[in-house]
Symmetry: C2
Subunit: 468 residues, 2 copies
C-alpha cells in the first residue's frame, strides 16, 4: 500500500528529510508532497550576506536544489507558494492555501514532516510602519529586495548626491548583523551597527567580543553598544533614521539582524507539543513525542544541548540538514538519532575569523557550573613562517574535574575551523588535562609546534589545578 | 640538598624537560646541566626546508631559544659542542667530550634525561664516498651547507653554464623529500624525486599518494617511483649522478630524505632497554623502566600508538616537546603522563595540503583489523563561495563496529588542519556513525553545510552498514 508523506516547509530540513525518505522508500511505497510558501527550495540563507556583499554573484548560486530536480530525480511533488494553514491530526489532513491563486486544498497524510523554519524577531517598532528602506535578511526575497535598493539608489543618485555617502544602520550585532555590516561596506555605504549588549557578537564572551568590535571599528563601522532601538523615523514613507535611547541615527537604509524564533504557530494550533525554548519538541529520532507518525526538524524545533543537558533553540543550517536527514532515515524505515548540539558557530568580519563551541561564561554560570577561564595569544603558523597571524583562544573548563565546557577563538587567518578540534573534544567530554596530549597536526606552515589549542589546554589545566 | 639533573641532548625534548623541571624546582634544589653536541639548542628541524626554500629568511629564525636564554633566564647550564660518550649508571656519571678542545669531562648526576634525538638513515652508498654535493637536511648545519652550495654555484656558474638548469635529485619521497623538492624548485633547479614505493609520500595510502604525485608532476618535478637507488656517480670528488636500478639520473646536487632512526647507541651501551621499534623504552611518565631516575623523550624513544596499542617510533617535534614537558614535570616532582600518539602528520607541496592521522590501510591490515575504506570529494568552502577548493577525504573504519581507524586528507586549501577534528575523534575512539552527528563549525566561507569530514563519515557509515 502506498503511504503518503506531507512535508511542511521546503527548505533544508524538510527537503533533506524528503530526500532521505525517498532513498529508502520508492515511489510505489511512499508518495511525497512538500508544501513551501516561498518561491524557492533548499537555499542557503547563511549565504545571503555574501550575495548582498557581492562575493556570491547570483541568487541561484545559493539554491542547492530546485523543485524540478526534486520532482524529476526524486519524485517529490514540491508545491511552491503553498502555505499550509492548518493541520488536522484527527483526520490526518493539512489545509494549504495556494498563494498565487488564493485557492485552498486539503491533503491527506499518513506521515507528516513539520519543517517550517524560523521567523525573524521584529520588535513592534519595526513592524508598525510600512516604511521603505527597511530590510530583513532571512529569505532570498529579502536579499533581492535589499540588493535592488542598493543598486537602485546607486543608479538614481544624482552625482551631487553621490558625494554624500549613503548611511546604513544595522540593528543587531550578532552573526547576521556583523556579516551584513561587512556586506554594506562592500557597497561603499557608511555603516553604523547598533547593539543592546556590552559588545557586538553577544554570542561570544565580552572579552572576545571586544576583538570583533575593534575589527569592525578598524573597518570604519560606527559601533554603538549598550544602545536600544526604540523606533524609526521616516519621511514620505522612506526611512530617514533609527531612534535609540541615545538619540537618533540618520539612515538611508536599515537592516534588521535581530535573530529568529521558531515558527510554531501552526504546530501549536494543531496541538504539537512545544518546549521551554519555544521550539517543537522532538525525541531522539526527530519524532514529535506522543503524536503518531509526525516528525519535525530544523529551525522550528528545539535541540538537546550536550553540555547542559537542556533544550535549546539554535537555528543553523547544519543542524537543519542533519536533523532532516535523521528524520528522513527514520521515515524511510531506517534507524538514526540526532545526538544534540554543542552550539558550535563560526563567522568572519572581513579577515577576522570568529568561532565558538559549547558554553559562554554566562551560560556556564546559568547552568550551575563553577569554572575557570583562560585566554592565550598565539599564532596560526610557526612564528617564523610567513603569514603567521595572531590568534586568541579562550577556554572555559569546569572547576575540579577540568572538563571542557566551552571554547572561543578569534584570529586573523586559519582560526575559525580550529574550533572543530575543540568541538570534538567537547563532544567527548574531554578534560583540558587530557587535551594537552592531543596529537594534532603540526608543520610550520600550519601550526606552531604547540598548536594554539594545545597551549590553551595547558594554561587551562594549570588554572584548574590552581583552584583545586 | 641540591640534586643534579644531566640532560643529554639540547634540542626540543631535552630542553623542554629541563625548562619544566626548572619551573618546579629552583636552582638551590636542582642543578641542571645540558650537553648538546651540535652548535644550537631548541631549533625547528621541521623548518629547515622552508629556510632552504627561502620562505624563512634567517637560520636564527628557526632557533626557539638560545643557550644564553637558558642560562640566564632558567639557570640551565647548556654546554654546546659537548658530546656525551658514555653513561655509567652504577657510578651515576656521564663522560662528555668537548668537541672544540678535544678534552673530556666526567659529570655526576642524580637524575638523567636521555634526549639524543634521531639520526638520518644513510644507506651504504651514501656513506662510503666523501662526495661533494650530497646533503642531508637534519641539522641547521646541514641546511647551511646546502644553502651555501645553492648560493655558491649560482654565483660561480659562468653565464654560458647558466643556460643549463642545475639538476637536483631528491632521494626519498616522504615528508622531508617532498618538502625539499619544493625548496629546490624555489631555487630554480630542475628536480627529480626518487622513491622506492608505488607512490611518493608512502605515509599515505597509494590512492592518496597519487594526488601528491600529480601535484609534484604539475610543478615540473620528475617523479620516479618504484625506483631503488644503488649508488652515486662522481667526478673529481663532486657528485654527477644517482645510480638506480632503472639507470643513472644526472645530478649536480643530491638531497637525502630517507627518514631517521632513533639515536640509541649510547643508551644501548649503558644498558637502557630498547623496544622492538628500536627506540628507548619509556613508561607512562617518560621514565626508563627498571632504571632508577633515568628519563627519556623525543625522537630517541618509542611511543604507544593509541589505535594499535603497539610501540612505534614516530619522530616529530610536537611529540618531542610534549614528551619532554611530561618528563620535566615528573622530574620536577609533579605528575604527568604521555598518552601516546595517533601518527597525525601534515605537510604541503606548494599549495597542495596533505594530512593523515591513525592507520593507513597496510597498517590496519598489519594490526589485524578488518575495515572498510571510503573516499569522498568535496570542497573547503560552500561551493558557491569564492575560493572553494577541492578536497579529498579518506576514512578507514573498522568493520562491524564502525570505529574510526584512520583518516587522510589531500586538498588545495584549508585542508590540512581539518585532520585535527578527525584526530580528536580517533583519540576518543568514535565510530563513523557517531561522527555523522558532530557539531562542526559551519559558515559559507569556511565549509559547505555538510563539512567534508561529515560527508566522509556518512559515506563510511554506509560502507560499514553494507558489510554488516
Amino acid at each position: 500500500m502506498t503511504e503518503r508523506l506531507i512535508v511542511i516547509g521546503g527548505d533544508a530540513a524538510g527537503m533533506a528529510a524528503a530526500s532521505q525518505a525517498r532513498r529508502r522508500r520508492k515511489v510505489d511505497g511512499l508518495e511525497i508532497v512538500a508544501f513551501e510558501r516561498g518561491h524557492f527550495t533548499s537555499y542557503s540563507a547563511c549565504g545571503i550576506p555574501y550575495w548582498v556583499g557581492g562575493q556570491v554573484p547570483e541568487r541561484d548560486d545559493l539554491i542547492a536544489r530546485d523543485p524540478a530536480t526534486f520532482r524529476d530525480k526524486h519524485q517529490i511533488d514540491v508545491r511552491l507558494r503553498h502555505e499550509v494553514t492548518a493541520i488536522d491530526l484527527d483526520r490526518r489532513e493539512v489545509v494549504a492555501r495556494d498563494l498565487t491563486s488564493g485557492g485552498e486544498v486539503r491533503e491527506r497524510f499518513d506521515l507528516l514532516m513539520y519543517a517550517t523554519g524560523a521567523t525573524p524577531t521584529h520588535p513592534d517598532w519595526a513592524r508598525t510602519a510600512d516604511t521603505q528602506g527597511v530590510f530583513g535578511v532571512q529569505t532570498l526575497d529579502d536579499g533581492a529586495a535589499l540588493i535592488d535598493w542598493l543598486d537602485g539608489t546607486a543608479r538614481r543618485s544624482p552625482s551631487s548626491d553621490r558625494l554624500r555617502c549613503r548611511q546604513a544602520v544595522v540593528v543587531g550585532g550578532g552573526y547576521i548583523g556583523v556579516e551584513m555590516a561587512e556586506a554594506l561596506l562592500h557597497h561603499g555605504l557608511s555603516v553604523t551597527l547598533v547593539d543592546r549588549g556590552e559588545q557586538p557578537m553577544s554570542t561570544m564572551d565580552p572579552d572576545m567580543g571586544v576583538l570583533v568590535r575593534d575589527a569592525l571599528v578598524g573597518l570604519g563601522v560606527d559601533v554603538r553598544t549598550g544602545c536600544a532601538v526604540t523606533g524609526l523615523s521616516a519621511k514620505d514613507g522612506q526611512v530617514t533614521g533609527v531612534l535609540t535611547d541615545a538619540g537618533e541615527i540618520p539612515a538611508d537604509v536599515v537592516v534588521l539582524g535581530l535573530g529568529v524564533r521558531p515558527n510554531t504557530a501552526l504546530a501549536a494550533e494543531a496541538g504539537l507539543p512545544l518546549g521551554l525554548s519555544g521550539g517543537v519538541r522532538v525525541d531522539q529520532r526527530m519524532r514529535v513525542p506522543d503524536v503518531e507518525r509526525v516528525w519535525a526538524a530544523g529551525d522550528c524545533v528545539e535541540s538537546l544541548h550536550r553540555v547542559t543537558g537542556q533544550s535549546v533553540h539554535i537555528p543553523l543550517g547544519t543542524h537543519a540538514n542533519k536533523q532532516g536527514r535523521v528524520a528522513g532515515i527514520n521515515i524511510g524505515g531506517g534507524y538514526a538519532t540526532f545526538p544534540g548540539v554543542l552550539g558550535t558557530a563560526i563567522t568572519k568580519v572581513c579577515d577576522l575569523e570568529v568561532a565558538r563551541t559549547g558554553l559562554l561564561e554566562r551560560e556556564a554560570t546559568a547552568a550551575g557550573f563553577e569554572f575557570v577561564t583562560t585566554r592565550v595569544e598565539s599564532t596560526s603558523r610557526a612564528g617564523y613562517y610567513p603569514g603567521a597571524a595572531p590568534m586568541t583562544v579562550k577556554l572555559i573548563a569546569e572547576r575540579r574535574s577540568g572538563r571542557l565546557l566551552g571554547a572561543q577563538i578569534v584570529g586573523r587567518s586559519e582560526a575559525a575551523k580550529r574550533i572543530d578540534a575543540l568541538a570534538v573534544a567537547l563532544w567527548n567530554r574531554m578534560t583540558v588535562d587530557e587535551m594537552t596530549g592531543l596529537d594534532l597536526g603540526y608543520a610550520p606552515p600550519y601550526a606552531p609546534v604547540w598548536d594554539p589549542v594545545l597551549i590553551a589546554a595547558r594554561k587551562a589545566m594549570e588554572a584548574v589545578e590552581a583552584t583545586g
